[in-house]
Symmetry: C2
Subunit: 281 residues, 2 copies
């Protein structure tokens, strides 16, 4: 496995791969790799000749009041996991090379980035789409892999690729959960033992919603109310949002007719967690 | 020469060219081709195996009050000029395919797009950088050719390419002028005979500035005043701006020390014209 830390070297390596007609799978990460990331690397390995994993805590997707500085990092362990799971190259660019002082260019998907998490994190998705555009230009992947856990991100990235005619296939992969249902996230590491218990209620509320819908409940208001009750039974929990939205447009649905994306964001203590489930009648 | 009107077909053609290791030169235009565009096509032909010229009046770079609808068009003549001057492919995409109804993604170079023409055309450069990102992704050129006449556009496009790590070399080409000095522009066609006379004063004011600077004048205020006098001697002229700026940052300079970009925008009757000159001590 190669570890590359300069953009120029990464571009040279990609040129070589393209000359050899190798297909390229790309897994963008912010490091502190967990089973979710590993499922993406393994899938990329199955579908491509060359797998590039990037590890970069991207400053432009954090607001000044957010956890950029304290976001968990463990480079040594990450490199080991990449190697063990089939990554051929790890790209570890430096913040200063990715964003020099006079960096001014941003890529923004309007409308889709304003709702759900965009309401409390107004510059977040702009940072995500900007850094991904940079990565796509540097790595020129045939396929890029994203977790369904960041459901809104996945929708936005697909839209960006479509709108800007980028030559990359975006592949969403299932949420990986602990046995107790908790969606695996790097931010889970912030939780105390008591907060971890409260965090389980996110998944429980989604399962409840699924059961209600499968039993024939179509009144979103009633479902939301029951989800709220479950989540708020955890004394560390405050709800940011519970939304029922269209899978592609992220527009709120007023009635459950076909497939619906149920997306939730909850602050557990000081830690903001997200989870979601796609439910169909 | 091939004429291609669908994005899919254009991408297929580029794939073939890449397989054959052909270098690609790209000349983006809004059509109504004149000697300025032709100089770009000729230069692209000299430096590349395959020349792609796009003709697309890009709606996102016009504000609602601007001349999108009446912007001059002459497809038949344009195709003839492309063929005569060495273009291998003309890409004529449809507005509906470039911007479907749910198009939400924009690329913006902040700061550099706010000044000069950006002041009176606040969404203009965002439209330019967005459509160019699309074209660069579709055509994957090795080199793209732009006229120095749109000096701010050239600076912004270079910055975008640098910031987003795009794999294309941006090549600026000299302003082409009529014998009388008027910078050639598709919008010159809007001018009445009397307005054409007044339009000549743009170039005259730039030549005057150059002469003053070469004679040792460093006081920008004094130079501007004399430029204003010349331009306003044309009774159809109103000045949008006369600016002395840094070639790369477009920051206003307070004193002429080395090279300076003198950029002007003037409304001649209802037609807004721009011109510029790079002057060094």
């Amino acid at each position: 496995m190669q570890v590359i830390d300069s953009i120029k070297k990464m571009k040279d390596e990609i040129k070589k791969a393209k000359k050899g007609n190798l297909s390229i799978g790309f897994v963008p990460t912010m490091g502190y790799l967990h089973e979710g990331h590993i499922s993406l690397i393994k899938r990329a390995k199955l579908e491509n000749d060359l797998v590039v994993t990037s590890i970069f805590v991207n400053p432009t997707q954090f607001a000044p009041n957010e956890d950029f500085e304290k976001y968990p990092r463990d480079e040594k362990r990450d490199l080991k996991k990449c190697e063990e799971n089939g990554s051929d190259i790890v790209f570890l660019p430096q913040k200063e090379e990715m964003y020099p002082e006079d960096f001014y260019t941003f890529v923004e998907v309007e409308k889709l980035g304003d709702r759900l998490c965009g309401k409390s994190r107004p510059t977040h998705f702009r940072g995500v789409t900007t850094v991904l555009t940079k990565f796509f230009n540097i790595i020129q992947p045939d396929r890029a892999y994203f977790g369904q856990k960041d459901a809104q991100q996945l929708v936005i990235v697909k839209k960006m690729v479509e709108d800007l005619n980028m030559d990359v296939e975006i592949i969403g992969c299932p949420i990986v959960r602990e046995k107790n249902g908790l969606a695996i996230s790097s931010r889970n590491t912030y939780l105390s033992a008591e907060e971890r218990e409260d965090a389980l209620l996110l998944y429980k509320s989604l399962v409840l919603a699924k059961n209600l819908i499968e039993k024939g409940e179509t009144n979103i208001h009633k479902i939301k109310e029951q989800m709220e009750n479950i989540i708020l039974s955890g004394k560390n929990n405050t709800i940011d949002y519970i939304e029922f939205v269209d899978l592609k447009t992220l527009d709120p649905v007023s009635k459950i007719e076909d497939k619906v994306l149920i997306a939730i964001a909850v602050k557990v203590g000081n830690t903001r967690l997200i989870d979601n489930m796609i439910v169909s009648i």
